[in-house]
């Protein structure tokens, strides 16, 4: 009640009648709306947010304290994953695989050009395990990953957008052996890859873009005397932005 009283008092009337209050509230709301419209029209032509209209402030690289809205985009990814370790045919634990996925990116998170990406990926492949004790043991494998990444886009509003980022993920891998010779159970691995990426995005329009991207990850394994392996994904993605200004 105290708060309500003070708000009403600010309208300059010690005795407030309901009709007068409604009129004055309407006038104040109209004035605030005009002010907001004027600020928006002065902002650079960068995407506004539909999902989260809260304003954020740019602090780099121009230093302009420019209000900037967040917006979401969705991306479809395709890559080849290379492994910086011997392949399973030479006693290694992992082979190169194709990998596909989707992600959602929240742009302009907290500050301009910083984005938060949440992704899910699926990889699959087959191969043979050969070592001094295992001879051409064929297998099929697949992997699921969910990850979260922080990315920084170097430009905004330009057709070419270089970007970099870091990523952490949860991954589960499974492989099934095709053999009657060996006692080879289905094997699985749950691990937490961490890595970084760099890429270049080309924007056809503010809403549609394609990108080439390279990622490196360290994937902890902890088996057969191998602590982990480095992997690299080379690929690209198609991105569609929701709410980006045309």
């Amino acid at each position: 009640m105290l708060a309500s009283y003070r708000e009403i008092s600010l309208l300059g009337n010690s005795y407030v009648r309901p009709f007068n209050l409604l009129v004055k509230l309407g006038l104040v709301g109209f004035a605030l709306a005009r002010t907001a419209t004027a600020q928006t029209s002065q902002a650079p032509a960068v995407p506004d947010s539909l999902a989260a209209p809260a304003a954020v402030v740019e602090i780099a690289p121009t230093g302009l304290m420019t209000p900037q809205g967040r917006y979401w985009s969705l991306a479809a990814h395709g890559s080849d994953r290379a492994v910086f370790a011997p392949p399973t045919e030479k006693g290694g634990l992992l082979n190169a695989t194709p990998i596909v996925g989707v992600s959602g990116i929240l742009h302009n998170l907290i500050v301009r050009r910083i984005g938060l990406e949440i992704d899910g990926h699926y990889a699959w492949g087959s191969g043979q395990v050969t070592s001094s004790r295992i001879d051409q043991l064929s297998y099929d494998m697949n992997a699921f990953e969910v990850g979260v990444a922080l990315l920084y886009e170097y430009t905004s509003g330009a057709p070419l957008v270089p970007f970099v980022g870091v990523r952490a993920a949860f991954a589960t891998l499974r492989r099934t052996f095709n053999t009657t010779t060996y006692l080879a159970p289905q094997q699985s691995l749950t691990t937490f890859p961490v890595g970084a990426f760099v890429g270049l995005k080309y924007c056809f329009t503010p809403k549609i873009a394609i990108a080439a991207r390279a990622r490196v990850h360290y994937l902890a394994i902890g088996a057969d005397g191998v602590a982990g392996v480095w992997t690299a994904d080379f690929g690209g993605y198609f991105e569609y932005a929701f709410g980006a200004s045309p």
Binding site: R133, I134, L137, L183, A184, P185, Q187
Partner: protein, 297 residues
């Protein structure tokens, strides 16, 4: 290191699961049971009786099938615990893998485990395994042990195993109580596998186990050569050299090991009926019968 740091380190290093090539390499120490047993298709006709007259069910085939059935059952009893190696190992060291301990379903309160060890860094090092059991009293026995020497082509090689049933008799007195031990050697090759085994039973006991042991050779097409000894006519322990094809046809050459003379040659059709039978030292070689897989083909 506080708890949060420990959890973070565990998350980064640690992974869960059983993703390992070496686990599979250790499991090669343990032979697949079906590779040492007579293929089950040759158990057909066991204990069916039979005769020697053309068109009748073959007695020789029945004897071969009966011996196979009994031999297979013993190996199933002894080797079944090793099947746990089809699962991921329970624990690992740099030179060993352990499966178990597991509860012994046949002996409540008892447990068993399989321990395989080898230096995998040495490509020529053999793999050794032991099967141990622990009774309700806490006493531990070594029920079986074996070695496997891989050949250049990894999964193949030669192996041997010993089961001392007498030592586990306090644990499982009622099963195969007449058997003292089983010694078995085997060879796994890309196009065939073979096993030689000897069942030692109680002295003087009428166990019915082949006194000369068992010899099995299995060709890639599942044709077999099967050797055992069993009573035949007046001969207490006739040597059976049997060749059988997956079609069901077969031949048996019987001899008396004491006199080193041939007793009989018997052949049977796909349906198990006698197609040829001759007795005496001039009974022939079985060349008139279906092809007998030899130890060299």
């Amino acid at each position: 290191m506080n708890r949060r740091t420990a959890l973070l380190a565990l998350s980064l290093a640690g992974c869960g699961g059983n993703w390992s090539n070496n686990d599979i390499a250790y499991a090669t120490a343990v032979p697949r049971r079906f590779l040492l047993q007579v293929p089950t298709i040759y158990e057909r006709g066991a204990d069916a009786g039979g005769g020697m007259i053309l068109g009748q069910p073959s007695a020789a085939r029945a004897a071969a099938a009966t011996a196979a059935l009994r031999y297979n059952a013993l190996l199933t009893y002894l080797l079944s615990p090793l099947d746990v190696a089809v699962n991921p190992p329970t624990s690992r060291t740099t030179t060993s893998r352990i499966w178990g301990p597991f509860d012994d379903a046949n002996n409540p309160g008892s447990q068993f485990w399989v321990d395989v060890s080898s230096d995998l860094a040495d490509a020529n090092a053999p793999l050794t395994w032991t099967l141990k059991t622990r009774g309700t009293s806490g006493t531990t026995w070594t029920a079986g042990s074996g070695t496997f020497q891989p050949s250049a082509s990894a999964a193949f090689g030669t192996g041997s195993m010993d089961f001392a049933l007498a030592s586990v008799r306090p644990l499982d007195a009622g099963t195969y109580s007449e058997v003292q031990s089983l010694r078995l050697s085997y060879e796994l090759a890309p196009d065939s596998h073979s096993a030689l085994s000897m069942v030692e039973s109680d002295p003087g006991g009428d166990s019915g186990w082949s006194p000369s042991g068992y010899g099995l050779f299995v060709r890639a097409d599942n044709a077999i050569r099967w050797r055992f000894s069993a009573p035949y006519g007046d001969v207490a322990s006739a040597q059976f050299e049997v060749g059988m094809l997956p079609t069901g046809a077969g031949v048996a050459v019987l001899s008396d090991p004491a006199s080193a003379t041939r007793i009989a040659v018997a052949c049977w059709n796909q349906d198990g009926t006698v197609s040829y039978h001759a007795e005496g030292s001039d009974a022939g070689s079985g060349a008139v019968c279906p092809l007998i897989p030899s130890a060299t083909n």
